[in-house]
């Protein structure tokens, strides 16, 4: 080998080694952050199957020889999970159905039809995105009390739909504006009315939008706390997060059961996330960037 090529070879080697080192460092950083995100969850799970006394030991993470699965049963019963879950579902299901259909209809009318007030209505929809929920808590509390919506599931459902209108309308409007108008035009020629065209021709074309929006809306409502906390005062009407709050008072020293309860409440969204992660991710980014 001549001197020249030898030099080049050495240079390449050096560069490659440098690349390898930076790659290793990068991997270490990525794994470290992943641990930061995961370790607390694993830790919480390990506590959920211990006895409360075990919590005070010095070790960071350990799994007990006799896992106390009974904690989950206690959490389920004492946390009134079943009661709260049925409340949550009876609020979420109508909220998700209407929180998907109404934005779809609104987005259809604003992207594909011609009417005078369209710009005004769309401005209202966009502005709705900016209003913080917290600014509506007190005034809604006051006037829902007057019109009998306070402490009722219906009141909460109305709020949940209202606060998902803007974001969901924006996602649907993005989807609908991409569909050629000839779709409806040919259906009109055959004399089909809107109430047939919308569900049977247009909606199927936006089917990915429907699933993304529905899943996202479901997760939002599942995790929603402050409106439920403010508007629902009757214990028996409250929603799932309250099973955790319950343990603040009467069972506050039963730490292990609290951890079991945390796992129970966190599990459904996690499962949903792993089942639909690609849909959740694409939908959310698309909507937010457009909005």
């Amino acid at each position: 080998m001549s001197n020249d090529t030898n030099l080049i070879y050495k240079d390449n080697l050096k560069e490659r080694r440098k690349k390898n080192i930076s790659k290793t460092i990068l991997m270490i950083v990525l794994v470290f952050i992943a641990l930061l995100q995961l370790f607390p969850l694993v830790w919480a799970f390990s506590y959920s199957i211990k006895t409360s006394g075990d919590l005070f030991g010095p070790e960071l993470l350990s799994f007990p020889k006799n896992p106390q699965w009974v904690n989950y049963k206690t959490a389920f019963v004492d946390g009134k999970i079943l009661k709260y879950l049925s409340n949550t579902l009876s609020i979420i299901i109508p909220s998700v159905i209407f929180g998907t259909i109404l934005p779809f209809s609104l987005a259809y009318a604003t992207t594909r039809m011609e009417w005078k007030l369209k710009p005004l209505v769309w401005t209202v929809v966009i502005a709705g995105l900016t209003v913080p929920i917290h600014t509506t808590l007190l005034p809604n509390f006051i006037w829902f009390n007057k019109i009998g919506l306070l402490d009722s599931h219906l009141g909460l459902i109305i709020c949940y739909i209202a606060f998902s209108m803007s974001f969901n309308s924006i996602i649907f409007s993005g989807l609908l504006s991409g569909i050629p108008k000839s779709m409806e035009e040919s259906a009109f020629l055959e004399g089909a009315p809107y109430r047939v065209i919308l569900p049977s021709i247009i909606a199927p074309m936006a089917v990915t939008g429907f699933s993304t929006v529905a899943i996202q809306t479901f997760l939002n409502h599942w995790n929603e706390f402050i409106m439920a906390n403010t508007y629902l005062s009757t214990e028996s009407k409250r929603t799932l997060p309250f099973s955790l709050i319950l343990f603040d008072g009467q069972y506050s020293s039963n730490y292990a059961v609290q951890f079991a309860c945390m796992v129970l409440v966190a599990l459904p969204p996690l499962i949903l996330y792993f089942a639909f992660s690609s849909k959740i991710m694409t939908g959310v980014t698309a909507g937010a960037v457009k909005g």
């Binding site: 990068l26 990525l30 930061l36 995961l38 607390p40 969850l41 830790w43 506590y47 005070f56 010095p58 070790e59 960071l60 109404l102 934005p103 209809s105 609104l106 009318a109 604003t110 594909r112 039809m113 011609e114 009417w115 209505v121 900016t130 913080p132 917290h134 600014t135 509506t136 808590l137 007190l138 005034p139 509390f141 006037w143 109305i158 739909i161 209202a162 209108m165 309308s169 009109f188 809107y194 997760l219 995790n223 706390f225 403010t230 609290q258 951890f259 945390m262 409440v265 966190a266 969204p269 949903l272 996330y273 792993f274 992660s277 991710m281 694409t282 959310v284 980014t285 937010a288 960037v289």
Partner: protein
Amino acid sequence: MQSQFKDKKVIATLVLPGIIIMLIAIAAPIIISLGLSFVKWTGFGKMKPIGFDNYLRIAKDPIFWKSISNVFILIFVTVFFQNTIAFILAMYLSNIGKKLSNIFRTIYFIPATLSLVVVTKLWVNIFNPSYGLLNKILAQIGLESLQHAWLGNTSTALGSVIWIIIWQGFGWALLFYYSGIVTVPDELREAAKVDGANKFTLYTRIIIPYIMPVIQAIIIIDVTSSLKQMEMIYLSTAGGPGDTTQFLALYLYQRAFKYSEYGYGNAISVIFVILAFTLTILIRKTFAKRLESL
């Protein structure tokens, strides 16, 4: 244009239900807040009209300003700190191959799917002085001197709360940047390479300008979600110790529902809405200029 696209009855049926619900739950309360911001009222008995007194009181209320300054600290930390890390990670993740990046992205997003109540409870336990994970780790590595009642100490409470917020919010920022970066067309990257651009200029000249709309979206989300920060603090420190972790939305809530100051609470609501709109418009304007000049 066919007449069907202008059918008023159809339009009304499609638009009105959604709009009416928004008017009931979003527009009406803003108007009610505005009206009640000029009275003194505990929720019972008579309202006493007091003109602009509530607003004058806000101007002189040190806790209100403390809560605003905390909001801006949080905005600063999320916009500059969280975003930089998220961007750099997204950049690397877009370079390490699809399979590996999928695994990492999935893990990084897990905290974002958990409910606020669960996340808060989790971290309250981690920060717990007697059995919490953090103090145990410090003990294991011989740093007992750093042990704290993290959420109960005035010097660490705000930092700890912000840490929880970032721990959960980080996945979103990363997701946005990543999806932005992978949409940059390969031709643009290739062209830059042909022109002799190195990694650094590739990012500053090509990729960052290309994903400007994404950056704008993230900053708007950072700002609005910092403004709306409340549940986490409500469930962890309740604004304490000594109002060191007071945030605007929580302060409003406490004035309204803990102290039953309905008039004052509504005045804070009005200021809050105005602030949210002003900041959003401001960011949009700033970016509109930047997007034009590119």
